[in-house]
């Protein structure tokens, strides 16, 4: 540091610094231009979706395209969403998504606590086995799982999408939570143990209140996964009254047939995207904080 300061205070460095402002401002401006262009490119597809969802049919076919629809056809939304039971799809998704979130939070918390906060012989071997399940592609388990659920009579129910989450099957969540639990000083648990607190008591009274950001991450990841999951419902559900949004959106598609009703299709897509994005904005700060802590500082 001292060396750096002494170099910075050399006269030559000073003059070059004095010449800089203009160059620096130009560099800065260029940087912001680049950021804005990149941001527009990345936001582009979503803006295009949003813009199309408010268009009239002729506006869809203008070349070059218009970004600001005029007239602004808000009624596309009720018209599109009422053509199929969008409300039912949403309700169905919520039904199993909330169950899966509860399952992931409860089971992965317990399992991660066992891996992070209790010393027991064989723990690390179990943990490595748990981690290595992350490498197993779903496809390997898919067929036997389907057949098992079929034999149990669980097809056309949400059980295949909920029950596994209660058994801590997602090792990624366990890993993230364990990493987070490890960052909590062990003195806190030791003190509680001396006071006669049970492990479950320590988990509930001491660890959980401190682990809110990590729990938010797991909750949001599991919710997003459930909202997004296509292949699971595709395999386990074949009754339209049970369809979640992922399958429902395809019903819209077959109905609106390509080319003909893009505004309706984009309105339905926006309605599918919106809940996830709104939810993200509510938990954004905790989420980013949680990912940073759990992901890397273990």
């Amino acid at each position: 540091m001292q060396q750096a300061e002494s170099i910075a205070s050399r006269p030559i460095q000073h003059t070059s610094l004095k010449q800089r402002p203009l160059l620096k401002i130009a560099q800065r401006a260029l940087f912001y231009v680049m950021m804005v262009v990149l941001a527009l490119i990345f936001a582009g597809p979503l803006l295009w979706m949003l813009s199309t969802s408010f268009k009239t049919d002729p506006q869809v076919y203008t070349v070059p395209p218009t970004w600001f629809p005029n007239p602004f056809r808000l009624v596309n939304y009720p018209e599109a969403l009422s053509s199929r039971p969008f409300g039912v799809y949403t309700y169905n998704t919520l039904r199993y998504a909330l169950g899966a979130v509860a399952g992931a939070l409860i089971s992965n918390t317990l399992v991660a606590y066992g891996f992070a906060r209790i010393r027991w012989p064989g723990r690390d071997i179990f943990f490595i086995i748990c981690l290595s399940t992350m490498m197993i592609p779903f496809q390997v388990r898919m067929i036997p799982l389907y057949l098992t659920f079929k034999n149990l009579g669980w097809l056309n129910t949400y059980l295949p999408l909920i029950v596994p989450t209660f058994l801590g099957v997602n090792a990624y969540y366990t890993f993230l939570l364990r990493q987070f639990f490890l960052t909590i000083p062990s003195e806190l648990s030791d003190a509680a143990r001396v006071d006669g607190c049970t492990e479950l008591g320590i988990l509930i009274r001491i660890i959980l209140p401190l682990a809110k950001p990590a729990l938010a991450v797991i909750g949001l990841l599991q919710f997003m996964f459930a909202w997004d999951n296509y292949i699971g419902p595709l395999i386990y559900l074949n009754n339209e009254s049970l369809y979640p949004i992922a399958l429902g959106l395809q019903q819209f598609r077959t109905m609106f047939q390509e080319e003909l009703m893009w505004p309706y299709m984009m309105a339905a897509s926006t309605a599918t995207v919106a809940p996830v994005i709104i939810l993200y904005f509510f938990v954004q700060r905790t989420f980013v904080e949680g990912i940073s802590i759990t992901g890397l500082k273990g």
């Binding site: 064989g122 067929i143 890397l296």
Partner: protein
């Protein structure tokens, strides 16, 4: 990163457990406590991981159409896959293309975006949110949005191209461009990797950057010789999870291109799904699943082995 470090320390600890030593009551108590906490996972692991894997291995040696009981046929499914099934060869080629091009492309873009976001600037949360948002878009919606973006006549890109009087880009309807078009969508949705890289970048010690600057390293050299090495654990993590995920690529391919045109986007999971749930060749599909599993294992090992040479752990000495 945590992943690699942790496995390493676990390895050391494993050696200290002496199986022959007699366990004290306290140890037994702690063992029971530990097992009690991880018991949900033990049940889940047995029922939803171990059993399905074993069953899948058995099915892969049978002919099984669900209606009739599985009939043992030895390695016939594997032999057929490797010697007779030409689609399968295309499928492997397509999938490896997707992984080998798509994963590094996504990683590089995510790292560059994270590096840009790591600089001091106004509206940083806004920019961060914009780059992150695409990953929140459900795959089913993403498929519809990109179908419309890529539309040959009125999609946003081709519509502009047309107005400039140039030839339209056929994107997902051409054999050559279908895979790159899908990779572009993957590159667009790199939010998680960006957040992970951003966290890693914030951990690059200021003192190290200053020292490099004093030594006369220009910004590009500092980026290459300081920033990237410090972030290699995060890069390894993103590369591994990205690779494993990409080998299972399904939804976008299934919805957007249905494997076409001319099988150019028929990926492993698509073909496997078709065999299992459309042709009801459960045995044949299980054999494919096992091949996929082995390919993923091989790639994981390859990356882990090579990581000793390029991943730098700052905390290695402790």
């Amino acid at each position: 990163m945590a992943g690699g470090c942790m496995i390493k320390t676990a390895g050391h600890r494993m050696r200290t457990i002496n199986m022959s030593q007699r366990w004290t009551p306290a140890q037994i108590r702690s063992l029971l406590k530990g097992l009690a906490f991880i018991s949900p996972w033990i049940v889940g692991f047995g029922g939803f991981v171990l059993y399905p894997i074993a069953a899948s291995a058995y099915f892969s040696l049978t002919r099984y159409d669900v209606l009739r009981p599985a009939r043992f046929i030895g390695l016939e499914n594997y032999v057929e896959l490797f010697t007779k099934d030409e689609t399968f060869r295309t499928v492997i080629g397509n999938t490896v293309y997707l992984v080998v091009i798509g994963v590094p492309a996504g990683l590089v873009v995510a790292f560059l975006l994270a590096s840009l976001l790591n600089r001091e600037m106004q509206f940083r949360p806004l920019f961060r949110t914009i780059f992150f948002l695409p990953v929140l878009v459900p795959a089913v919606a993403s498929a519809e949005v990109w179908r419309w973006v890529y539309n040959t006549n009125y999609g946003v890109i081709n519509s502009f191209i047309k107005s400039w009087g140039l030839a339209v880009i056929p994107f997902i309807s051409s054999v050559e461009l279908a895979k790159p078009s899908l990779i572009l969508i993957h590159v667009w949705a790199q939010g998680t990797a960006i957040i992970i890289f951003l966290a890693a970048l914030q951990d690059v010690p200021r003192s190290l950057m200053d020292a490099a600057e004093v030594d006369g390293a220009n910004p590009l050299q500092r980026f290459w010789h300081v920033t990237i090495p410090i972030c290699t654990p995060a890069i390894l993590f993103v590369m591994l999870t990205g690779m494993i995920g990409m080998f299972q690529y399904f939804t976008l391919g299934w919805l957007l291109t249905q494997g076409g045109p001319n099988e150019s986007t028929e990926f492993f999971s698509l073909y496997l799904y078709r065999n299992a749930f459309q042709f009801f060749k459960m045995g044949y599909a299980s054999a494919q699943a096992w091949i996929l599993f082995i390919i993923i294992l091989a790639f994981t090992l390859l990356i882990f082995r090579s990581s000793a040479r390029w991943v730098y752990y700052a905390g290695e000495s402790n």
